[in-house]
Amino acid sequence: MTQAVQAAASRTVPSGAAVRLDGVSKAFGPLLALDDVSLTVGPGEFVCLLGASGCGKSTLLNLVAALDRPSAGTIDTAGRRVALMFQEPALFPWLTVTANIELALKARGVPRAERRGRAAELLALVHLAGFERKRPHQLSGGMRQRVALARALALTIDAEPAGKDRAGTLLLMDEPFGALDAMTRDLLHDEIERIWRERNLSVLFVTHNVREAVRLGDRVVLLSSRPGRVVEEFPVPLDRPRRIDSPEVAALAGTITDRLREEVGRHGA
């Protein structure tokens, strides 16, 4: 682990933001979901996004993934590839678990001969080895979410040989661990952190869990209730690896929770 930290510290990252949102607003008809959001995720940075339900977090990720257009403002991902893990698993029901992941690998240009093996590795990573031949509907909600995680991670694989100056993928995750038990979640936190470093990813991570945000993020961004605005940003100056149940994480999470309560209380019904 210590070695990994040093490797991460010394890695070279391309200059310029992984994604820069500038004055982004999004309206659905009369409903304003996001209002003048400006936000930057640096290259190789892990940013967590917190906010009340319905404040526009998913909307924001959709905009960044170019699945939707902002009503105003600009979003610049500098030509980076974007991988998105949706709030729902969104797996293809007609494919087996392994075929779902292999399709993502194929879409990323991984040669056929390598796909089976890579999919098996990804499934082992999310602790689903042995479930390759199942179909999504045969799995529990949490297991489906882990398959979706494996698929999103498959989309961060670079088929071309990785150069030092190549920008890593921008990985967007929408409450990826919402349906998991604490034990599995803690394990997956470690895995996500490791892959983030190894693949030089930039991550924008949506969660409702303040401790999780502090456990994982370089920075925690707080959105206001609808319409979503950036209220405050909290840098997380804690050394990695962190433990979600450590006093330092708890202390910062407490501060952020207070601020979040205030925000929800101000706008809340």
């Binding site: 293809f92 993502a104 390598e114 093996g117 890579r118 590795e121 990573l125 080895a129 042995g130 509907h137």
Partner: protein
């Protein structure tokens, strides 16, 4: 995990070895997952066959009984409405003659050809409509209109255009079946779940790949439903056609049926009707099996 993959990429190697970093925890989680899946229940094949057969057998028995009761009531003389006791032996005799099977063969040949052409036409038209909003506005509702039109209404035109010929029958069968097939495909493509389309977009599926890996599989259940309905319409249109468009020397089921009526051989006539019914049921079951297989695979089956 192929060893050559590992040697190529160090990161890959770490990934595969990493989950064992906390083996006891991993094992616990896998154990929990195994619990979640539960065991699959299997019944013995004889019991399954019986549970499939008995409702059908009872329905047949009730139908035969009702028929017999009507005959016993003396509503019609037995040369007009023979009972099962007279008809079933006639059916048994028919199925041992070569000419009967020749007629069934011709009818099935027409049905299969008509259905195949309908599938081709329906799929092409359906695919074009899903691709073009202009076409959709132009012919979208027309297709639904055609679907509701009784195909027998096409025969006067068909006979004018093609005389009493195979083409006249084919024409009407295709007009009867193709709209359902086209509509099945259109509905399937239209109702591809948006979240899956988004997932496909994030993966970078585009153009042909998007269709091959996402849109077509997603529309398969609806397409199969369209095929099933298309078959039913093809079969009805074909029977109407064989009764109306009688081509001399082409003895089909329809021809046998109208001949039996002309010669007042009611027992033979009812036998042919039973055959037509049975073929319809068997084909419907075949499509049903495909439909069930898809639904089970996808987890759409209600149980």
């Amino acid at each position: 995990m192929a060893p050559d993959v590992r040697t190529k990429n160090d990161a890959t190697d770490q990934e595969s070895s990493r989950p064992e970093a906390r083996p006891e925890l991993s094992r616990q989680i896998s154990g929990l997952d195994a619990l979640e899946l539960g065991g699959e229940t299997r019944r013995n094949p004889a019991a399954r066959a019986w549970s499939a057969v008995w409702p059908m057998a009872s329905a047949v028995a009730i139908a035969l009984l009702a028929w017999q009761v009507v005959v016993w009531s003396g509503w019609k003389p037995s040369y007009v409405l023979p009972g099962p006791a007279d008809t079933l032996p006639e059916l048994g005799r028919q199925v041992t003659t070569g000419s009967f099977w020749g007629a069934v063969g011709l009818t099935m040949q027409r049905a299969v050809l008509g259905f195949a052409v309908s599938v081709l036409v329906g799929t092409v038209v359906g695919a074009l409509v899903t691709q073009s909003s202009v076409l959709r506005r132009a012919v979208g509702s027309l297709i639904t209109g055609l679907q509701t039109m009784p195909s027998i209404a096409w025969f006067p035109l068909a006979i004018l255009l093609f005389q009493l010929s195979e083409q006249a029958i084919l024409f009407v069968v295709v007009l009867g079946a193709a709209p359902s097939i086209a509509n099945g495909l259109i509905a399937g493509v239209d109702y591809t779940p948006p979240i899956l389309l988004r997932a496909g977009k994030v993966m970078g599926l585009r153009g042909l790949n998007l269709y091959r890996h996402l849109v077509l599989p997603a529309s398969l259940p609806s397409f199969v439903a369209g095929l099933k309905q298309g078959w039913a319409f093809a079969w009805r249109s074909l029977m109407a056609g064989e009764l109306l468009v009688v081509i001399s020397s082409h003895t089909s089921l329809g021809v046998l049926l109208s001949q039996a009526r002309e010669f007042s051989q009611t027992d033979a006539m009812i036998s042919y009707m039973i055959v037509i019914l049975v073929i319809g049921i068997v084909m419907d079951r075949l499509f049903g099996l495909v439909d069930d297989a898809i639904r089970t695979r996808w987890g759409l089956a209600g149980d």
